[in-house]
């Protein structure tokens, strides 16, 4: 039988995609352009008022920073876990999974306890005499970034780890046999092979960050408003059409950025593969 005759196996997935992704997206488009008659006022408002452009740029910027931070912190951790004996790997992975299973809301609230004026960090700093007055840490961009990185880090670690476990260690051995120093083997064999999975992790973290809502709402100030916060805000205000326009813009921005990131990532990977580090 040819591959074509198995195409019907895609049908359930296709139906799912159509029903729960494409149809709602089409409805979003409709809601943003008909209020109740055809209008482009909501999109016009989005592009003509500087504040909304600022929010979009900020959302992309924050998501990029979070994705890169998660990658820089997560990659070595995944590598370390990958080097451990099997039984210890299980324990370490479990330690990473536990916080991931906790609700984002709870983890965000935990940061309030840590970063508050009378919070753990301020008290610790005051106790060792580093500060006299409590420092404002809550309701700052730093608080949002720290919490988002902490919340999304397990995802990047697990994605990197999954990519690394598939690497055939015989290749590293072969490199060593052929005279590569351990560092060279790591940089020129292991890293390029794990790069694709790492980029996938980075894109996933980026994608999740783009829609982040609770963390900026609870830990950030008004200067940290992201698109998802605006959407929630507009829904609360019963401006459904404007919220729909924002939702559509978020969807489009995310798709464009994912394509860009993947493209750039592949390009970088190819260059590294060719030239080495």
């Amino acid at each position: 039988m040819s591959a074509r005759s198995y195409l019907w196996l895609f049908l359930p997935a296709l139906a799912l995609l159509l029903l729960f992704i494409l149809a709602p997206a089409a409805d979003l488009l409709r809601a943003s352009m008909f209020d109740p008659d055809f209008t482009t006022e909501h999109f016009a408002r989005l592009v003509t008022r500087g504040v909304y452009i600022d929010v979009m740029l900020r959302t992309i910027r924050v998501s990029l920073i979070v994705a890169v931070c998660c990658t820089i912190i997560g990659y070595p951790i995944a590598y370390f876990i990958n080097l451990q004996p099997r039984s210890r790997q299980t324990i370490l992975l479990f330690l990473i999974l536990i916080p991931m299973w906790m609700s984002i809301l709870i983890r965000t609230f935990a940061w309030i306890v840590v970063l508050g004026r009378d919070g753990l960090l301020n008290e610790a700093l005051a106790a060792v005499g580093l500060i006299d007055e409590p420092v404002r840490m809550l309701f700052t961009s730093g608080a949002v970034l720290a919490a988002m990185v902490q919340i999304l880090l397990p995802i990047q670690i697990l994605t990197c780890y999954a990519a690394m476990t598939e690497i055939d260690f015989d290749l590293i051995r072969a490199a060593r046999v052929l005279g590569a120093k351990p560092r060279q083997a790591l940089m020129r064999v292991f890293l390029p092979l794990s790069l694709d999975g790492t980029i996938t992790g980075l894109v996933i973290v980026f994608m999740l960050s783009m829609g982040f809502f609770i963390t900026p709402a609870l830990l950030g100030g008004r200067q940290d408003t992201m698109i998802a916060n605006l959407i929630e805000f507009q829904v609360q205000r019963l401006n459904w059409s404007f919220a729909a326009a924002l939702g559509l813009v978020l969807l489009l921005l995310t798709i464009v950025m994912i394509v860009l990131l993947r493209g750039l990532g592949r390009m970088a990977a190819r260059r590294i593969l060719k030239a080495g580090l």
């Binding site: 909304y52 404002r136 809550l138 309701f139 008004r222 019963l238």
Partner: protein, 349 residues
């Protein structure tokens, strides 16, 4: 004879309009303490009076959103609902409420006119008031007015206001020296709105966070994240009980009245009236209710049953009421779209 029998049957039916055991009245209202106390005071009284059982649904801030969706789908799940001061004009305009049948509710005309609106009965009054952490004030000083709230030199420290234009513009104008009685005349002009925003500009850098729920405002004060914040007067008692040194500044507070209403298409229209009666016209229950929550309504004879100490915590206590302005919800209903958009974008700037 027949007539007599019919009359007797009718009177029995009137006295016990709803006897069936499996009847459930669904009521939507605020969560938290409000729900807790309602469940202890009003719901049992209603159940006793009617033999119905009740379901109290806590719907925090977007009750109008829910009801609008239910009306649109023709599937009304609530029999009665709290209608906040600000939701009332909008709910009326959108036709989300059934009219109140005062012949059914109040046949002896006991409620004062102030309590009776076409689509709702005043169930509670509350105030949006500035609250100060006395322990964070400079030695020997205390905020007395909105000018003090704006004075970051004399009273340094982070502040918070609700993330909405309503009443904040009034507060800003009061801080700028406008008299209580002129408030809405000034705000009614474009220059007045500009003036309020200019005044808010001054305070903006000192507001690290704008609160969105009453619980949050209390939490911010309790954690010391902000030293001064507006909040609802009913939240302050709990805060004081938990040992936080806070005090309400009644001067320049905004007084609101909220209502209990019956949503369009409510499944049990008549029984809902019985609930409205229990909620708004029983001084014995209301006195018990305001012991826990100082949100008094117009239940006939309410203040007779109260100590002076208790009355002083009430927004409608004369000494407190005189210092406040009555929030003009008609103004906000008419102007909210325009001002809110400006406010929302101003926040993001």
């Amino acid at each position: 004879m027949n007539k007599l029998l019919l009359g007797a049957a009718a009177s029995v039916m009137l006295a016990q309009p709803v006897l069936a055991q499996d009847k459930v009245l669904t009521i939507a209202g605020s969560g938290g303490v409000v729900k807790e106390i309602s469940e202890r005071v009003f719901l049992p009284a209603f159940e006793e009076a009617t033999g119905w059982s009740t379901k109290f649904v806590a719907a925090e801030s977007n009750i109008l959103l829910e009801v609008r969706t239910m009306v649109a789908s023709g599937q009304m799940l609530y029999d009665a609902m709290e209608v906040s001061a600000s939701a009332y004009p909008q709910a009326v305009r959108e036709g989300l409420l059934e009219p109140i049948d005062y012949k059914l509710l109040d046949p002896n005309n006991e409620l004062p006119d102030k309590a009776k609106k076409e689509f709702g009965v005043v169930a509670a009054s509350y105030s949006t008031v500035p609250v100060q952490r006395l322990d964070k004030n400079p030695e020997g000083r205390k905020m007395e007015s909105w000018s003090d709230f704006w004075d970051v030199e004399a009273f340094p420290g982070p502040r918070s206001l609700k993330q909405q234009p309503e009443y904040n513009l009034e507060f800003a104008l009061l801080a700028d020296g406008v008299a209580l009685d002129d408030l809405y005349d000034v705000l009614g002009t474009e220059e007045g709105v500009d003036r309020a925003f200019d005044k808010l500009d001054e305070l903006k850098p000192h507001i690290p966070v704008w609160w969105t729920s009453g619980a949050q405002s209390v939490q911010l004060l309790s954690d010391g994240e902000v030293f001064y914040s507006t909040t609802y007067n009913g939240r302050v008692g709990k805060l004081q009980e938990s040992g936080i040194d806070v005090e309400i500044m009644w001067n320049g507070g905004a007084l609101h009245t909220s209502h209990v209403g019956i949503p369009k298409g409510a499944p049990n229209y008549e029984a809902a009236h019985e609930w409205v009666r229990v909620r708004t016209m029983r001084p014995d229950l209301e006195a018990e209710y305001v012991k826990h929550l100082p949100y008094p309504n117009f239940a006939p004879g309410l203040f007779d049953a109260m100590t002076e100490e208790q009355a002083k915590t009430m927004p409608t206590y004369p000494a407190n009421a005189d210092l406040q302005f009555v929030a003009n919800e008609e103004f906000w209903a008419d102007n909210i779209e325009r001002i809110r958009e400006r406010f929302d974008e101003w926040l993001l700037e």
